[in-house]
């Protein structure tokens, strides 16, 4: 079923795009990650121009998060205060990301930078998550209890001034910590076309020390609003948001997200985390190979 995309200027198989959205939506519902880290590379691989892919993937992540946020809100696992601080940081970060994007683009190094960022971020976080979840699994199997972590958040976080109470996260920390975290994910959202969930979830767990139950809901809540801001920034600056492409991705991903949320409730969080760690490492490994291997295309064309 071929359909012409009016902004991307090419025709695609609608069913392939819907299926792609479905898989990404499933992951987004299960893990609380936006799934942009899969959508953008897959769309580019399919032949969609990179800018259109990143811009349209952002709105797909919005749609996938809405249903996720709603399910989590119904279960009371969203920390609105924490989410609000993260969103403020995210919007600032997205603005900085636009400037950085333009600078790298004029130097012609945006592709390489995206590749290196993916490998470093995904590789580092994937390893961290894999280590943690394997320890948890071993503890589960042997029946030995893991030593409860005495210090719940990173010492640097504790050193920041001005403390707020985040009830649902079970935290009493400075709002500057989640704000800076928000800025970092905002920059990544603009540069990589990802929601930033794969950074946010582990950072909230291991750096801020949030309670596991509220992490997924709160990260989805932040992703929802930051991707909305990013979609608008793309529509205003790059004019590369393809509504037809976004629509196809959305049909798949909103359905997938519902199924994913249900699955996540019936699987132990330890297994979920090791699965996510595996997927993240897989993508990082593929990107690392891509940097070192001779690329399929030596030449690239940029139309002025």
């Amino acid at each position: 079923m071929d359909l012409y995309l009016p902004i991307a200027n090419l025709s695609v198989n609608a069913l392939v795009i819907i299926a792609l959205g479905g898989v990404v939506g499933l992951l987004s519902g299960m893990f609380g990650v936006g799934g942009g880290f899969l959508t953008t590379p897959l769309l580019i691989f399919y032949g969609i121009p990179p800018t259109v892919a990143a811009a349209s993937a952002a709105s797909q992540v919005t749609g996938a998060s809405v249903s996720g946020v709603m399910s989590h809100m119904a279960r009371g696992t969203v920390d609105f205060r924490m989410g609000g601080v993260l969103i403020a940081g995210g919007v600032i970060g997205a603005g900085l990301g636009v400037l950085l994007f333009r600078l790298l683009q004029s130097l012609g190094q945006i592709d390489t930078m995206i590749g290196i960022l993916y490998v470093l971020m995904l590789g580092g976080i994937g390893l961290l998550m894999a280590k943690e979840s394997i320890q948890a699994l071993v503890a589960l199997k042997t029946g030995k209890r893991l030593q409860a972590r005495t210090r719940r958040h990173h010492p640097l976080v504790a050193a920041l001034p001005m403390r707020w109470r985040f009830y649902r996260s079970g935290l009493y920390i400075s709002p500057l910590a989640p704000l800076l975290l928000g800025v970092a994910t905002g920059i990544l959202t603009m540069l990589l076309g990802v929601g930033g969930g794969f950074i946010l979830v582990p950072a909230m767990l291991y750096l801020l020390g949030m309670t596991t139950q509220s992490v997924v809901g709160t990260s989805l809540f932040q992703i929802l609003f930051v991707t909305m801001a990013t979609t608008m920034m793309h529509a205003m600056t790059t004019k590369a948001v393809d509504l037809v492409l976004a629509m196809l991705l959305l049909i798949g991903s909103v359905t997938g997200a519902q199924i994913g949320t249900r699955i996540s409730m019936s699987i132990r969080p330890e297994y979920l985390r090791i699965l996510l760690a595996f997927i993240v490492l897989l993508v990082a490994g593929r990107m690392a190979l891509g940097l070192g291997w001779r690329p399929d295309e030596i030449y690239s064309i940029e139309v002025q």
Partner: protein, 253 residues
């Protein structure tokens, strides 16, 4: 006005030049190509007649070359090289006039019809395109970049060469089919026809073809460009609306 002139031109040329040179009367199957939701490319038929003065046909049959060209683009090409174990964009070249689309068909392979120089003058063949380099690269480098451009565009179906596919019937009627890829950009295209006799281009004629989006596709492209804020809002509303609807339906199930 321009259209009227274009229509009168072959007729006038026929009357004026009737004395010695043959005249081409070309046409295309579609003057306007409309891009709709189901657009997966188009096949254009370029056909026409060769009108010889006094109806006398030459002893040796003439050759016909048809070229379909899209709007020129100003482009920057980058070349990847391995630096410290990583493939990065190293060299680059800028070209002011690279055609976004180029398709050529001829009655015989170009090298058998005209010499290198004539092919270069009339831009017959993807390796003969004049790209107007705008950066300071040496000629070996420019050749490398041009080869890279041709390779990329050929695989995207944007550069097409079909030697030996122009059919000439009884030496006076010709026809050729050229494919228009689904990835074409919108704009004004030209279909040029050249009549070649003994290595010399003896007649040439041009037809304009306009490729444009229509209906919903056109509305979307215009909206994204002109009303970008509203377009952005629409994108967000669509995403939130569909996400909300899916959530609402799922809770009922």
């Amino acid at each position: 006005m321009r259209r009227a002139a274009a229509l009168c031109l072959p007729a006038a040329a026929w009357l004026l030049g009737a004395a010695d040179e043959p005249v081409l009367v070309p046409d295309v199957s579609q003057r306007e190509v409309e891009i709709l939701y189901s657009f997966t490319g188009a096949d254009l038929l370029l056909f026409g007649a060769i009108v010889y003065p006094d109806g006398r046909r030459p002893d040796r049959p003439a050759d016909v070359v048809v070229v379909l060209k899209g709007p020129d683009q100003s482009i920057t090409m980058r070349e990847k090289k391995k630096v410290a174990g990583i493939w990065v964009n190293a060299d680059r070249a800028r070209f002011r006039s690279a055609p976004s689309f180029y398709a050529m068909a001829s009655s015989r392979p170009i090298s058998q019809i005209v010499d290198e120089r004539t092919a270069a003058i009339y831009e017959l063949g993807v390796d003969k395109l004049q790209l107007s380099p705008a950066s300071l690269n040496d000629s070996a480098e420019l050749d490398r970049f041009q080869a890279g451009l041709v390779d990329l565009r050929e695989r995207a179906g944007l550069f097409v060469e079909r030697p030996g596919t122009v059919e000439i019937t009884d030496g006076v009627l010709y026809r050729a089919r050229l494919p228009l890829s689904a990835r074409v950009v919108v704009g004004d295209y030209t279909a040029e026809t050249f009549l070649v006799q003994d290595g010399r281009v003896v007649a040439a004629a041009v037809r304009d073809i306009s490729v444009r989006k229509s209906g919903f596709e056109r509305f979307m492209a215009v909206a994204a460009e002109r009303w970008s804020f509203l377009y952005g809002l629409a994108a967000i509303a669509l995403a939130v609306g569909m996400g909300w609807a899916a959530g609402a339906i799922a809770r009922r199930l």
